[in-house]
């Protein structure tokens, strides 16, 4: 029986292992490394932005390049860093958490990863093209991104298509895996919350990525084939673009935060040594957030002139989202209450997530109040808001997950001292960067400007200093990862004292093949 022998082989050697692998752990690692690389590329662009904004006047870059930086920073962080990181975590952890031997569609898995490097190579190559990279913001509103765009916009459109196909295939794989490959007797309501949140996220991806693909295709035909979807001069409608974009864009925001909710719901109980409070209500809250996310898109468009009734509907629907989100925060706090807590690096990131994400949630609630949004809209207050939900939100949860599961992946404990250094530097850096943005935004500083009037000078300098601290602190993380892969104290199967779940039943490091026979679920 050759198949039985094949079944127990280890990884292939050399480059072919990575090019042809169908192993969920290899693919998960590749996603995570790719995402880290993009995090640094997107981060360097953020530092160029912060360098220009150190003081009033133009010093470092010209406005046209500044716009390219803000655009590329947003696109790379959203599509290149945060989304692939979550897919990488899903690849590694979903099969381990549901007791499956691998993802359901392994070859598709390989394909969806390998689309990404090409997509982002194409996107980054626009930087050296005549006319420069896309410069119309990551939201690429028409007609700035169609009639008035640089020639490289076509490459941008194809890069979005490729990344979108990759996301859709990855999402289908997650859905099929979770629905069909759970260990016997693991009912839906016994699934770990990370699995639950990813299942819901995957449905969101399948629902909205095609809308984005359709939107960029309409741009493509407007630019090259004489259509006028978004061109008022030809009978088209520039506002239609915004409706389509935000119909994708708002669920996209939750695509970047629901898996984070899942991660925090794994980590907080472990380090509180106490079961998660309100498991069922967490599942229902996540589902309601996902459903509501399809009904709030026009809150990004309060100033475009939608009718009063529309304005009111989107205001009420948006305010409503804070209820299930609040439930989640209350549940995490109730989990910590009367627990027996310790504060290893994953827990520090998780607690910072809860506090800072909640601050981002509060500013979100303020932005939901439509009349007030007329003052907040397109200012640095918005920049502060979405960075608070994305950096200490999405990015901190990814960091927390990396520290939490790294011993399982590598078989070695990471350096706790360095991990804590990384945490505290990041924590101080990001608050210095993003908190003052609330103030300059309220005082009237518009976003996406390369130069500003002098009354905004102080807080911008603070933001820039904080930005550099945050940016360079991430090098500590690279050091931690490299050290942990190379060696360190051997990790046990159950790495953390309070950890529960199937992923802790396999040895550390997790063998190349796991759960070839389904495990028992209590």
């Amino acid at each position: 029986m050759t198949s039985a022998v094949d079944h127990h082989h280890g990884p292939a050697t050399g480059m072919t292992r990575w090019l042809f692998t169908t192993n969920h752990k290899d693919i998960g690692s590749m996603y995570l490394i790719f995402s880290l690389l993009m995090f640094f590329i997107g981060g360097s662009m953020a530092l160029i932005i912060r360098m220009e904004l150190v003081e009033p006047g133009l010093q470092v870059v010209q406005p046209e390049f500044f716009n390219q930086m803000t655009t590329m920073h947003g696109l790379i962080m959203v599509f290149g860093a945060v989304m692939p990181a979550f897919v990488g975590l899903a690849n590694w952890m979903v099969p381990l958490m549901i007791g499956a031997p691998d993802m359901a569609l392994p070859r598709l898995n390989n394909f969806s990863f390998w689309l990404l490097p090409f997509a982002f190579f194409m996107l980054l190559s626009t930087l050296v093209m005549d006319g420069g990279a896309p410069d119309f913001g990551w939201t690429f509103y028409a007609p700035l991104s169609t009639t008035y765009a640089p020639p490289s916009v076509t490459f941008f459109i194809f890069a979005i298509h490729l990344a979108g196909v990759s996301s859709i295939l990855g999402a289908i794989n997650v859905i099929v895996t979770i629905m069909n490959m759970r260990a016997p007797s693991m009912s839906y309501m016994k699934m770990p919350l990370f699995v639950w949140t990813w299942l819901i996220t995957a449905f969101l991806l399948v629902a909205v990525m095609p809308v984005l693909a359709g939107t960029v295709t309409m741009m493509l035909t407007d630019i090259h084939f004489g259509t006028s979807f978004f061109d008022a001069g030809g009978g088209g409608d520039p506002v239609l673009f915004q409706h389509l974009f935000w119909f994708f864009g708002h669920p996209e925001v939750y695509i970047m935060i629901l898996p984070a909710f899942g991660i925090i719901s794994q980590i907080v109980p472990t380090f509180s040594r106490k079961p998660l409070f309100g498991y069922a209500s967490m599942v229902y809250a996540t589902s309601s957030i996902a459903l509501l996310s399809f009904t709030v898109w026009a809150h990004h468009m309060f100033t475009v002139g939608i009718p009063l009734v529309g304005e009111l509907f989107f205001m009420y629907a948006t305010m409503l989202i804070s209820v299930p989100t609040g439930v989640k925060v209350f549940n995490w706090v109730a989990t910590m209450f009367r627990g027996s807590m310790t504060f290893e690096t994953p827990m520090l990131f998780a607690i910072a997530f809860i506090v800072l994400f909640t601050i981002g949630g509060f500013s979100g609630l303020m932005l939901a109040i439509s009349p007030a949004d007329f003052q907040y809209h397109d200012t640095y207050f918005v920049v502060a808001h979405f960075h608070y939900v994305l950096v200490p939100g999405a990015v901190f949860s990814i960091m927390a997950a990396a520290y939490y599961w790294m011993p399982k992946w590598t078989g070695n404990m990471y350096d706790e001292y360095l991990g804590k250094c990384h945490f505290w530097c990041s924590f101080v850096g990001l608050n210095l960067t993003f908190f003052p943005m609330h103030f300059v935004g309220l005082a009237g500083m518009p976003r996406r400007i390369p130069d500003y009037s002098i009354q905004f000078a102080d807080f911008n300098l603070v933001s820039s200093l904080g930005g550099f601290l945050f940016g360079f602190s991430q090098l500590i993380f690279v050091l931690v990862v490299v050290k942990c892969v190379k060696g360190g104290k051997k990790a046990e199967a159950v790495v953390w004292e309070g950890a529960e779940g199937l992923e802790w039943q396999v040895p550390s490091p997790a063998p190349y093949h796991t759960f070839e026979t389904p495990p028992e679920v209590k």
Partner: protein, 377 residues
């Protein structure tokens, strides 16, 4: 040694902070503004802010109390409870009630903001890359408003003045105490007309006319900026509004109309090459230099060069050159200036482009020839 370099770094940072503080302020909050609507919005903003603060204090107190008292290192033993229907119902229902309480005043304010009926003054605001046009409806008055900050201030060659980037050549002038309706639209990409003191922010969208209104209480100069990314010079198209008394407004209207009439009359006289070059340079700096650059070299490939270009140097291209300036070029950032500039300004700027930067064609474009070309169209 290490400590000393550390503390000197801190000192440098503090010194840097201090030096910018000298000219700036540490404003923390939204302006209350000078209109009824802006004050309602400010109070909504403060209400929702304090609600958030109270909730934050409650939630984080429980959390930090747990972090301090329920830690393993102080011997806390974990309990195993994991649900409580009563508590869960309370923390779902109470937030809903708070939101309803918040939605009521927000709805009232929004309805007020959307009521653009019965206006006293109607002004059409049109966004262009990168300036604003103001048309006083029913007054036969229209003009453009450009950034007037000295480029040397932007490029750090001279000290920045206190209205740096918030100053224009021709401010919008409006009367106080009157309901002013703004009809906001755009000629090219999407812009957004925002004056924080009025809490008026409306997107200027090509093909759409958006409405908004304000009634200003106090005489003063109010400054704002474009709020929607509109390309390269998005950060350089400010808005300045001068709110004046009724009498001053009437006076200003008369003077403004007279100065426009004088400009039209100037087209009839003979202009020398020197005069056209001087005027042309001013017009070029204001309207053309953002894209074609001060030296006429452009930015390839989006904004073509004029210096040593075929169109600005060859005699047979002369009419084509004038036509592009008057009618623009569809599908590019090149606007139709025939409707934006006076005949004198058009003649001057085309003459300037054909003679500056070594183009030296010697061509004189007269205001009269521009007028006849505009008529024949």
């Amino acid at each position: 040694m290490k400590e000393r370099s550390c503390s000197s770094a801190v000192l440098i940072i503090l010194a840097a902070l201090w030096s910018v503080s000298a000219q700036a302020d540490w404003a923390l909050n939204m302006t209350e503004g000078v209109t009824e609507v802006s004050r309602s919005i400010y109070s909504l903003h403060m209400q929702i802010f304090w609600i958030c603060v109270v909730i934050a204090i409650a939630v984080f107190s429980v959390m930090f109390w747990s972090i301090i008292h329920h830690r393993k290192s102080v011997g806390a033993k974990a309990e195993q409870f994991h649900e409580n229907t009563t508590v869960e119902l309370i923390w779902t229902i109470v937030p809903v009630l708070i939101l309803v309480a918040m939605a009521v005043p927000a709805t009232t304010t929004l309805i007020e903001m959307y009521d653009t009926s019965d206006s006293d003054v109607d002004i059409q605001v049109t966004g262009y890359q990168w300036k604003w046009q103001y048309q006083y409806l029913g007054e036969d008055l229209s003009f453009f408003s450009n950034l007037s900050t000295n480029p040397d201030e932007i490029n750090n060659k001279v000290e920045k003045n206190k209205n740096y980037l918030l100053e224009v050549d021709e401010p919008l002038v409006v009367p106080i105490g009157k309901k002013i309706r703004f009809l906001v639209t755009s000629n090219d990409v999407i812009h957004s007309w925002w004056v924080p003191a009025f809490a008026v922010k409306r997107d200027a969208i090509p093909g759409f006319i958006n409405e908004s209104w304000t009634r200003i209480d106090e005489v003063g100069t109010y400054r704002g900026q474009c709020a929607e990314l509109c390309g390269k010079d998005h950060g350089f198209m400010p808005i300045v509004v001068q709110a004046v008394t009724d009498e001053d407004y009437a006076l200003w209207l008369t003077e403004k109309k007279a100065s426009i009439a004088a400009e039209v009359a100037a087209a009839a006289r003979v202009w020398s090459l020197e005069e056209l070059m001087v005027r042309g340079e001013q017009v070029y700096q204001k309207n053309c230099a953002a894209c074609h650059q001060v030296g006429g070299q452009g930015i390839s490939p989006m904004f073509p060069a004029l210096k040593a270009s075929a169109i600005a140097t060859q005699a047979e291209q002369r009419d084509a050159h004038i036509k592009i300036v008057l009618e623009g070029r569809a599908g590019t950032a090149m606007q139709a200036y025939g409707a934006q500039l006076s005949a004198v300004e058009l003649a001057a700027v085309i003459t300037y482009e054909r003679n500056a930067w070594g183009n030296d064609t010697g061509d004189i474009i007269t205001p009269q020839s521009i007028q006849s070309m505009l008529k024949s169209k």
